[in-house]
Amino acid sequence: MTHSKQFCTFFVNGLFFGVEVLKVQEVIRYQGMTRVPLAPTMIQGLINLRGQIVTAIDLRRRLELAPRETDELPMNVVVRSDDGAVSLLVDEIGDVVEIQDDIYERPPETLKGVARELVQGVYKLKERLLLILDTEKTVNLTGAGNRVQEQKQ
């Protein structure tokens, strides 16, 4: 008996990512954002999600990929985390897919850098690889690179 899981999929810089569907609160179109001065660059800003203030993290920057063209508007994948909702900015939304467990594999050893930390596994789909993101780690920026941090002297 093999089990299957559902994933919400999306594209970031041509890569195909997935997040467990249960972790996703909702997917919304691009929204006007309020920039946060002094914040790490990967924090794109704050959005108003029906009265709740949600931090938006640019996944391209978080995953240390090439920056998005300025005319491309990202989509918000709002995920639930221990610390409330956080929005992940992605290029394009894919489908919700149901995948059997038997094509799952741990990320290859050759995966380096930040991806090694954030990608928790890979599904070998026929046409491409689906990289599964660890959302808790993704939204936790402690110790993440290129941080403009206020040192308390």
Partner: protein, 758 residues
Amino acid sequence: MNDQLQQQLIKDLLIESLEGLDTFDREMLALEKGEGNAETLNNVFRIIHTLKGSSGCIGLNKIESVAHVGESLLSLIRDGKLAFSPAMTSALFLYSDALKEMLHCLEQTGQQGAVDYSALLQKLQELQVVKPAESKPAAAFGLFEEEPAPVPQSTSPAVPDPARTSITVVDTVAAPEKVATDKDATARQATSVSDSAIRVDVVQLDKLMNLVGELVLARNQIVQFTSQSQEPTLLNAAQRINTITTELQESVMKTRMQPIGNVWAKFPRVVHDMAQDLGKQVQLVMEGKQTELDRTIIEAIKDPLMHLIRNAIDHGIETAVERRAAGKPEEGILTLRAFHEGGQVNIEILDDGHGINVAKVKEKAIQRSLATPDQAARMSDREAFNLIFLPGFSTAEKVTNVSGRGVGMDVVKTNIEKIGGSVDVLSEAGKGTTLKIKIPLTLAIIPALIVTSGAERFAIPQVSLLELVRMEAEQARKGIEMLYGAPIYRLRGQLLPLAYLNREFKLESSADTANTPAGDSVVNIVVLQADGRQFGLVVDEINDTEEIVVKPLGKQLKGITCFAGATIMGDGRVALILDVMGLAQHANVIAEVHDRSLAGKTKAVERADERQTLLLFNVGQNARMAIPLSMVARLEEFPRTQIERSGNQEVVQYRGQILPLIPIASYLPNAGAAPALSDPVQVVVYSEAGRSVGLVVGKINDIVQEALTVKRDASRDGILGSAVVQNKVTDLLDVIGIIRAADPTFYGEANKATKANP
């Protein structure tokens, strides 16, 4: 289901009993003072009787049996078979403490606790032995019959015996209630109160408050939108929504209000105990008990108030002998006063003690290099008084057990400022000291000034706002001067350091004002106050004042000290709320004071012969130890129930991270068997490169500044050496060594972690 019911019953019991025991303490004080009457005794008896009954009902046998012993004693007194004596008061206070202890234990662990109260019970039983000579059946309640001298009333002169302690609670507001002339009347009053009031879970109220907050935002949006409309029906409806929302907001806010008397209820007992310990006579006067405050604020001011009261009794009010010599009545008066004023709550703590000695304060400040002799000489009295709020300041000659709890007035000040309040101190030599605290009514919705800079809007809490200055370009060119590159504005002759919001936040500015003070357009200066100092914030545009709903920021942004939160504006966009204090520090406009407390974080202990600020604490029985305060990130208390285990490591959740706990005692040889941890556990948090550990110590004693000479080198693990601190040999803890021993990877990994969260 059964279990749930039991939980609910226990919860009800806790709420009822803890409240009841506070009343018990209060009534006992009245009895001790001779102000009680039959109704008071009845009341006391009833509280205990209820507690015993309810705890018995739900199978809390230990609490029931302890309660029973006191009940028997009280019933004898009530029935007039036994005369009330002061010896009983202290036993009954201990008894009330024991009950509270068990109830707290029940609250935290679900168990009644393992403490043995047999000695106390023995004592209570001994007190019940009726001595026939003393029992006077004629008197329904024979108070103080074996007392040779009658205890004076508050108005009469005190007994000429300095060792005797007395305390009176003069309750100006609630006084009429206390004079129970008619038992039936009191009873009737009591039932009517319980009929018209219900207990509501605080969570429900918080939820309601949040919803109202949302409604306020939506209302703002509608009002903004309809202002462009001509449609009369729409305008009418909008108008109505506007007024209804305002009213609803006020009403919901009121449901969360509690009279400040709830916090004060504990103070008479505290004052009584402290006065007794210190051999002073103190009368506590409480005015304005009915003044209402939001419950979150009530929680937040509890500890600062307690600290200020302890301070006033310990350092303010003199002993009876000193008072007599100064020609004052022997009984010192400590007044707590609360009242509403200008949308804020004022709390004043007045003592009629010897006041703050300005010369001594200045001397101390110079000695601790918090001010230069020159500065001190120029200081006004008022400025000098405010020196006591600086970190590491204490004028008390002797650190006593009572007020030296490791936190000082600086902590009081920061705690009050954290909730948007302010503290001020006034003092007159020989006459007394007054501390004035001003706090907002609520935290959830605050008035704020909205400004724009670099096309972004920011909200500035109105409490930090002093004034607005607008200058035309021509004026600005002359008005703003540069002092070694730092822009300064002369505000009515005072130098006001300026910070440009665009520059601080690296925003592109809409006008060119940010780059040079001699720009072409208007300059707007928002004059702000942080930590008692003023500075000017230059912004592009000043918009409006608005009531805003404060919402927290995600943890990803917690590290940025410049923001206190965010809010949603009328147009639905998010605006950041500036933390004026954090911003001032970021812009270095008022940094001096804080540099001092945080500087030299990692300076080694070995640097002898130099004044150091030390944190003194106990480990185990009497091992007196110290570590430099510069190595301490924070002092924390964790209830034991918060401690969890991860592997064989004890940890607590702390600010969104997991904090490993290191019990110091187990890394010190000769510390004896590791003593049972106190509850709450006292923890010194140490941070290095983003990682933190908690060192579990026995008891935090004090913070002192001392010229340190290491007298003896260490031959023991975990100890750097010994020194004489406050005339006592004190061991210096080898923090780094102990952390290495507990977690060999701590420093290695700390270095590897690139730029971590401080």
